[in-house]
Structure formats: structure tokens, C-alpha cells
């Protein structure tokens, strides 16, 4: 299915800072080289922000890393990469080293693994400062504090002495940006800089990059899969798919009139807040709730001489039969903790929990058996939640064997085929192994396994956040259909408000282990009563450049 590739990009501005011309990256060695990207061309002007977008495997990161030759040892680049007219392909290692961190700086996705755990933030910054300038250690230390101040790090004098693991994700990314800004680069490459962060933190980081850009006039190349981020920051967009550029257009034009079918499909798949699609689930409030929490507190048990950590306070949450309750909140808000509680994986520290009309607060063995006959779970990462050594048929029916609902191999196999059919996978795949499946297919298997015991309540913990948007849309559609057919209730844990809007009948907004606000989805999202909910909604970027510009202005003013 190769579509005609749209190659007529608008002519690059006359004063391009970075020109990428017919660049391909190949992996391999010796005589065998396998290309992963094919003839990529685009440019970045000074002061311009270009977004390189695409789903996983599109080659966007590899292309960005090729600019400074930060590729793995078994990769090589061909074509022409020019920085201010200077050719970087084939440049000496010495020259590349001068360019790296000086003319062109990079910030990476996961600031935890991108910083060396054994050095302090101050050490990292000094290294960045001293790599291109001949300054004394004392001067560098002073400059480090100054850089942290520029990226609005709270108490910078203290933070230089901290190690990466002592900072929050957002602070780590600020430190990373401070390192990148150390020698005032002319081009900043940002590789998924906010993917691992919460939406409110993401907004702050994007604001910061924009502020620094306005002050220094640097060009920014941002790599992302999030169309909301694209709409928020970029002037021009380069859309990639399977190692090729399918479309290049100014941001406004691209969102308003996508030229390529793939771009259109990509934009359509992005769930957006206020899109009109709402949940098809119908809650039966006359019947007793499937899950009922009354004043529940949750504690992670502590170890010897350490008290436990209280991750949930005074929770009142109820899930009616047929209802989908969206649990939303940022990392550390306790949403996954509530999911684990509902599965009986954490004890009730105080209050009362009922599952299917039975009080299970005591957490006895019989209670747990009862919980597991009524509740099952869909996990976040389908790659690691399926046993790689078991066929998907075996994995799907394992819960049945464990609860002794089905014991014969033949019956299990038949049930597995039935369940595969339910999740729209071919029955014949029952003997395949997880590695033979794509991410979306694996998550379908995860859903089939959760449904094997005909649970009354499904706990879905971020089931689509590891998937590409187009795959996510298909999995969410399937989920809604299954819910209509089988009528199970669901606790849907997510950080994505637009997913909640599409799927959930009611929403519970959490912060620091407490319920901030709860109610019917439409009411909470359209007319939030609490400040925190309003902030969450405002921070989530929407794939519309004009709307996003308005929201940014509002956010910065307020």
C-alpha cells in the first residue's frame, strides 16, 4: 500500500539555519546496510519551530539524531545536512564535537535516564558549560546557578547540589534544558521532551522552551507524536511515516487542510476534548453498586521501622452496574492505587469497601477469592503484561484455570478462540506468541484475558497510553463495543481527559490521593467546579493551533 509521496514541500526560507537534504539513515554493518529512512528533506529557519511528527517506527527520532551523528554505532547517515551552509555529513569528529552542545543542543525524552545518576545537577551543568568554554570551575558553578534560574528552577542554589533522582520529572527536564542552553545554541533539537511528563508540567516546559526561543532567536526542531503539542508550539510541521516525509506544511494550514490521506487519518484519530463523542455506556443506578468505597484510606505497607505510605485518603467512589468511571489525575495522584485496591492487591487501611454487594474491607482469603471472581484488570503495557513464553491462547485462559472455572485444555482452547473472536482477532491466532503481535493486537489480547472470567468490573489502568493514536482509537472503539455487548462496569484509569470524555459516564478527579471533584462526565468537563480540574483541562493541548494560541495567552496571563 505505497501511497504517492507528496514531495513538493514549500521552498525553504532563503536563510535556512538547518537544511536537511535527501538524508537516509541505514542500520547494519559490513556490506549489508538496511535503510530505515528514505531521502528525508526539510529545513529549519532561525527563530522557527519545526515539528517532526509521526507514529512509532516512522523514523522521526532517528532523523533528528542523524543531524549531530548521535546514532548508535551500527547506523550510518547519507545525504546532506547543512548548518548555516556548512556540511555536517562527513565532517570530522572534531568538528562535530564543536557543533554539538555549542551550535546545536539536544534535549531528550526521559530526563531520568538521560542524566547520569552519579553526578549532581551542578556537575552536569558545569560539564555542559566547560565543554565549549575555557572557564574556571568556580565560574562554571556560578553560571550553573544562573542557568537554573533562567529555566525557572525553584531554589537553584540548592538544586545544583541535588542528584537527578532527587528531582521531580519536570525539574529534571528543566535541568536538561538548562544544560542545552549553556552555550546559547542556534538550534535546539527536542526529542519528545514532554512525553514522560504530566500535562500541567508539559505546558510549563513548552512555555519555557518558547520563552527561551523568543529571547535567543534559536531555531527549534521538536520531535513528537502528540498533535496537541504540535499545534501548541510549531510554525511548520513535517509529517513522517515509515521512514518517509508524507507532508510538509505551515502549522495552521496542516491542521485546517491536510493534503495527505495519512495526515487526515492521523488528525482524525486524535481524541479531542469537546469533540462531541460521548460514552455509550448506561449506568443502572437502581441496582446496588458493583464497587462501593466509603471513606476508604489506602496505605502502602512500610518496612521495618518505617511507617507505611498513605496513598489514598477518605475516598468515596461508587461504580454502578454498566457504568464506566474515569479516574483522572497526574502521576502520584493515587489513581493506579485505587485500581490496585479494587483488585484486592492493597488492603483497606480504613473505611469500607464493597464489591458486588459483599463487604470485603477485612481482606480475608474468602474476600479476595470473591473479589477476583468479580473483578479483573487490563494493564498499561501490553508488551510486559503478557508472558512471552506462553501462547496468547494460554495467557487468555489462565485466569479461568487459576479460578478453576475451566480446567480441561480443550475447553480452555475453545473459550480462548471465542474470546479472540470477541476482541476481533482471528481465532487461528490462539497458538501465537506475544512477540508475533503488534502493540494494539497485544492490548486486544490483554482485554480478552480480562474478560475471560466474565467479570462484573473491569479495572483498566492506562490501557492505551503506550499505543499510537490511530491504534488507540481502534482499541477504545473495541472497548466501548465490548462494554455495550457484555454490560460490565469499568474503572478506567487515565491521564487523558479526552479519552475520559469519549468513554466514561462519570469522572473522578484525583490529586494527592484525594478526590477533588466527581460527577457526570459532561458536567465535570464542561463546567468544572474546582480550580484543579480547570487547570487540568486548560493544560491538555488540543490539536488546533488557533485555539491553542488563545489558551496559551490565557494561561500566561492568568
Amino acid at each position: 500500500m505505497t501511497q504517492p509521496v507528496l514531495e513538493k514541500a514549500p521552498p525553504p526560507p532563503a536563510t535556512a539555519l538547518l537544511e536537511i537534504d535527501d538524508v537516509s539513515v541505514e542500520f547494519g554493518g559490513g556490506k549489508k546496510w538496511k535503510p530505515v529512512t528514505h531521502g528525508i528533506s526539510f529545513s529549519v529557519a532561525p527563530g522557527e519551530t519545526v515539528a517532526l511528527v509521526g507514529e512509532s517506527g516512522s523514523g522521526k527520532s532517528v532523523t533528528a539524531m542523524a543531524i549531530l551523528d548521535l546514532l548508535p554505532a551500527n547506523a550510518r547517515r547519507t545525504g546532506s545536512i547543512r548548518l548555516d551552509g556548512e556540511e555536517l555529513v562527513g565532517a570530522s569528529e572534531k568538528r562535530l564535537r564543536q557543533v554539538r552542545g555549542c551550535d546545536v543542543a539536544v534535549i531528550f525524552q526521559e530526563p531520568m535516564t538521560a542524566l547520569n545518576p552519579v553526578y549532581t545537577i551542578g556537575h552536569h551543568l558545569s560539564e555542559a558549560i566547560r565543554s565549549h568554554r575555557d572557564v574556571s570551575k568556580a565560574e562554571a558553578a556560578e553560571k550553573a546557578v544562573d542557568l537554573l534560574r533562567q529555566v525557572h528552577m525553584p531554589s537553584p542554589e540548592e538544586k545544583v547540589k541535588h542528584y537527578p533522582h532527587q528531582l521531580s520529572g519536570g525539574q529534571r527536564q528543566r535541568a536538561m534544558i538548562a544544560m542545552a542552553m549553556a552555550s546559547e545554541p542556534r538550534l535546539l533539537i527536542a526529542d519528545e521532551p514532554t512525553t514522560a511528563l504530566d500535562v500541567t508540567v508539559q505546558a510549563e516546559i513548552l512555555d519555557l522552551v518558547r520563552e527561551l526561543q523568543q529571547r535567543t532567536g534559536m531555531g527549534v526542531l521538536i520531535i513528537t507524536h502528540d498533535m496537541g503539542v504540535v499545534a501548541d508550539v510549531s510554525d511548520r510541521v513535517v509529517v513522517m511515516r515509515d521512514g518517509r516525509v508524507v507532508e510538509t506544511a505551515p502549522s495552521r494550514e496542516l491542521f485546517a487542510r491536510p493534503q495527505h490521506d495519512y495526515t487526515t487519518a492521523l488528525l482524525e484519530a486524535v481524541p479531542r476534548l469537546g469533540s462531541g463523542t460521548t460514552s455509550s455506556a448506561v449506568a443502572d443506578r437502581s441496582a446496588p453498586p458493583v464497587l462501593d468505597l466509603e471513606g476508604v484510606a489506602i496505605e502502602y505497607p512500610g518496612s521495618w521501622r518505617k511507617s507505611g505510605f498513605r496513598a489514598g485518603h477518605d475516598l468515596d467512589i461508587s461504580v454502578a452496574p454498566g457504568e464506566i468511571v474515569g479516574l483522572v489525575g497526574e502521576s502520584g495522584s493515587g489513581k493506579s492505587t485505587i485500581g490496585r485496591l479494587a483488585m484486592g492487591l492493597l488492603p483497606v487501611a480504613a473505611g469500607r469497601m464493597e464489591v458486588g454487594g459483599r463487604d470485603v474491607s477485612a481482606g480475608s482469603r474468602a474476600d479476595l477469592v470473591h473479589i477476583r471472581s468479580q473483578v479483573s484488570m487490563v494493564f498499561q503495557d501490553p508488551a510486559s503484561s503478557l508472558d512471552p513464553r506462553r501462547t496468547i491462547g494460554q495467557s487468555i485462559t489462565d485466569p479461568l484455570r487459576w479460578t478453576r472455572k475451566l480446567t480441561s485444555t480443550k475447553a480452555c482452547r475453545a473459550r480462548a478462540q471465542e474470546l479472540l473472536d470477541d476482541v476481533r482477532l482471528p481465532k487461528e491466532w490462539v497458538d501465537r506468541y506475544p512477540h508475533e503481535l503488534s502493540g494494539g493486537q497485544r492490548q486486544r489480547v490483554g482485554i480478552a484475558r480480562a474478560m475471560a472470567t466474565n467479570p462484573r468490573l473491569l479495572v483498566a489502568d492506562e490501557p492505551t497510553s503506550a499505543l499510537d493514536v490511530s491504534v488507540q482509537a481502534a482499541v477504545l472503539d473495541l472497548f466501548s463495543e465490548l462494554q455495550r455487548e457484555h454490560g460490565f462496569s469499568c474503572l478506567f484509569i487515565t491521564h487523558d481527559l479526552s479519552v475520559v470524555e469519549q468513554l466514561a459516564t462519570s469522572v473522578v478527579v484525583l490529586q494527592h490521593g484525594r478526590v477533588v471533584e466527581q460527577g457526570p462526565t459532561a458536567r465535570v468537563l464542561n463546567d468544572p467546579q474546582e480550580d484543579y480540574t480547570r487547570r487540568l483541562i486548560a493544560a491538555a493541548p488540543v490539536p488546533d493551533p488557533d485555539l491553542q494560541a488563545q489558551r496559551r495567552a490565557q494561561r500566561l496571563a492568568g
Partner: protein
């Protein structure tokens, strides 16, 4: 960091007490009366009840178990480990004479092993190719080769064939420093070979793992030289598992130098232990075991503290 160090030391003290208790219990729970054994030494004949009672009183074996335990503990903690059955020498004195020799031998062997093993492993990981393959073969041989075989080969080559070094024996440093060093070098090398191989393999795999960490790419993106990146962002991080390996290795060496001591007629702690076991000299056995246990625990504390110094995430 201070709390971390103090906690490690606290755990260490607890461990030593536990080891002392276990040794005490082991000696009292094994079947057979030490007094009987002592009196019937060698000939298997039976002693008179009178004599047995006298010996029991002498050794304090007629006291209640708890009193014996207390005496044993307080003795051990004040350095009084009893007297040898064989020659009446104070056990602490015998150990005091042998221990420095073993420490010297193990210390030198460790130094050689680290100085050779770490750079070699790092180089193998960095270069790859034929050098890595050769390293892999050599270190396999090094780990597998028994120390007495390698030791004998050394004696054969350097003493008998080339006549460069004395084949074995021991001279005090004070008497003749040159000969002391000459006698130390071969046993130390014999001990170091297997140890260096283990360290090289561990360093190699740690470096290979660190090479692919994200922070290495970050360091490269800052424009640091390859050398700096390797030294500060790869090798530095690889040291943590290496330190653990060295710590365990040193602890193991302390108790197992006996083969090397035998090959080179080197009068160290291990040979004292083996001789005492053969002669059923219980106080000496007990004393040596306690000494080795305490050393082992101390080395582990040092390793834990080093680990905290090397990796800030460990300090809690």
C-alpha cells in the same frame, strides 16, 4: 550519608554477634565430649572418668551453658580466644602472628587483580573484535585454572627453569625485605589470576551495559570528547558492580588461601586453620574462624560504604 554508614556498621556488629553465637552453638551441639576427645587423642583408648572430670573443670565445661556462652562472648570480644591444646600458645597470639602475612598476600593479590582486571575488561568492551574474543578465552581459562596448578607452573618456570625467584618459604620483612618481597610475589600472582579474570569479565559486561545508557548519548550531545565520555559516563558507572565483585572476592580469598600457602610453603592463616583441624585443636579452629568471619563482615561494610560513595541513589 552518616546515617547510612552508621546503619551499615550496626548491621555488621549484629552479624558478628550472630556468627559468634553460631560458632558457640556449633561447638556445643556436635556429638562427642571435647574432654573425652582431648584425652583420647590419637590412640582411641578410653580415659578414666576422673581424668575426664578434671579436664572438664579445666575447660569450664562443667558450668551451665549460659555461663559458658557469656564467658565465650566476653572472651572473644576482649580478644581472649583461649589457648591452643597442642602447645599452650595463646590463640590470639598465634593469629596475630599469621594474620598480617595472609592480609599482605591477599592485599597484594587484590591490588594486582584490580589493576590488571579493570582496564583489561574495559578495553575488551570498548575495542570488541579479536581483542574481546581473546580476552573471553583467556579469562575463562583464568577462572577455571586451579590455583595450585597455576602456582606449580609458576614454580616450575620461574624457580626451577629460570631460577629467578625462590620456590617457596617465608622471611620476615624486618629480617630481609628483599627476600620477603621475592617470596611474596609468586603466591600473590597465583592468587590474582583467577580474581583478575573475574574482575575483567565483570568490568567488561558492566561497561557494555553502560555504553547503551541514555546519559552517554546526552554526554556526547554536549560535545564532550570520546575519552571524557568513556571515563566519566561509562567507566565511572561501571564501577558499582565491580566493587561488589571485588568485595566478595577478597572475603572469599581470606579463607581460601590454603592451597597457595601449601604450594609455596607460606605460613599464613589458612594453613594454621588446616593444621589445627587436623590436630583437633578446637580453640585455634574457633579463633581462626571468628577472625575470618569478622574480617568478612568488615570487608562487606567497607564495600557497602564504597557503594554509597559511588552511587548516590543507594544512600538513604
Amino acid at each position: 550519608m552518616t546515617t547510612y554508614v552508621l546503619r551499615r556498621i550496626g548491621v555488621g556488629v549484629g552479624l558478628v554477634l550472630l556468627v559468634l553465637t553460631l560458632i558457640f552453638l556449633a561447638l556445643h551441639l556436635v556429638p562427642g565430649d571435647p574432654a573425652m576427645l582431648l584425652l583420647s587423642q590419637g590412640d582411641g583408648g578410653s580415659a578414666t572418668p576422673d581424668a575426664v572430670a578434671r579436664v572438664r573443670e579445666q575447660l569450664g565445661l562443667d558450668q551451665p551453658l549460659l555461663t559458658q556462652y557469656w564467658q565465650f562472648l566476653s572472651g572473644a570480644l576482649t580478644g581472649d580466644l583461649g589457648e591452643s591444646f597442642r602447645n599452650g600458645q595463646a590463640v590470639s597470639e598465634a593469629i596475630g602472628e599469621r594474620l598480617p602475612r595472609t592480609l599482605e598476600l591477599v592485599g597484594l593479590a587484590t591490588l594486582i587483580a584490580v589493576v590488571v582486571g579493570v582496564p583489561w575488561g574495559a578495553l575488551a568492551a570498548r575495542k570488541g573484535g579479536w581483542f574481546d574474543s581473546v580476552t573471553s578465552v583467556l579469562t575463562s581459562i583464568g577462572v577455571a585454572l586451579p590455583v595450585f596448578v597455576f602456582g606449580s607452573l609458576l614454580v616450575l618456570l620461574f624457580s626451577l627453569e629460570l631460577g629467578l625467584l625462590p620456590a617457596g618459604g617465608f622471611t620476615e620483612w624486618g629480617d630481609d625485605p628483599g627476600r620477603h618481597a621475592q617470596l611474596l610475589i609468586m603466591p600473590a600472582i597465583a592468587l590474582a589470576v583467577g580474581f583478575a579474570s573475574t574482575i575483567a569479565r565483570m568490568t567488561r559486561s558492566a561497561v557494555l551495559e553502560m555504553l547503551h545508557q541514555d546519559w552517554v548519548r546526552t554526554a556526547r550531545s554536549l560535545g564532550l570528547s570520546r575519552r571524557t565520555v568513556f571515563r566519566k559516563y561509562v567507566l565511572r558507572n561501571s564501577l558499582n558492580p565491580v566493587v561488589t565483585t571485588v568485595g566478595i572476592g577478597v572475603g572469599t580469598l581470606l579463607g581460601s588461601t590454603v592451597l597457595v600457602e601449601k604450594v609455596f610453603s607460606y605460613p599464613g592463616l589458612s594453613s594454621l586453620l588446616v593444621d589445627a583441624v587436623t590436630a583437633r585443636d578446637y580453640p585455634v579452629v574457633q579463633g581462626v574462624v571468628i577472625t575470618i568471619a569478622v574480617l568478612f563482615v568488615s570487608i562487606n561494610i567497607i564495600v557497602d560504604v564504597l557503594y554509597g560513595v559511588l552511587d548516590p541513589r543507594v544512600r538513604r
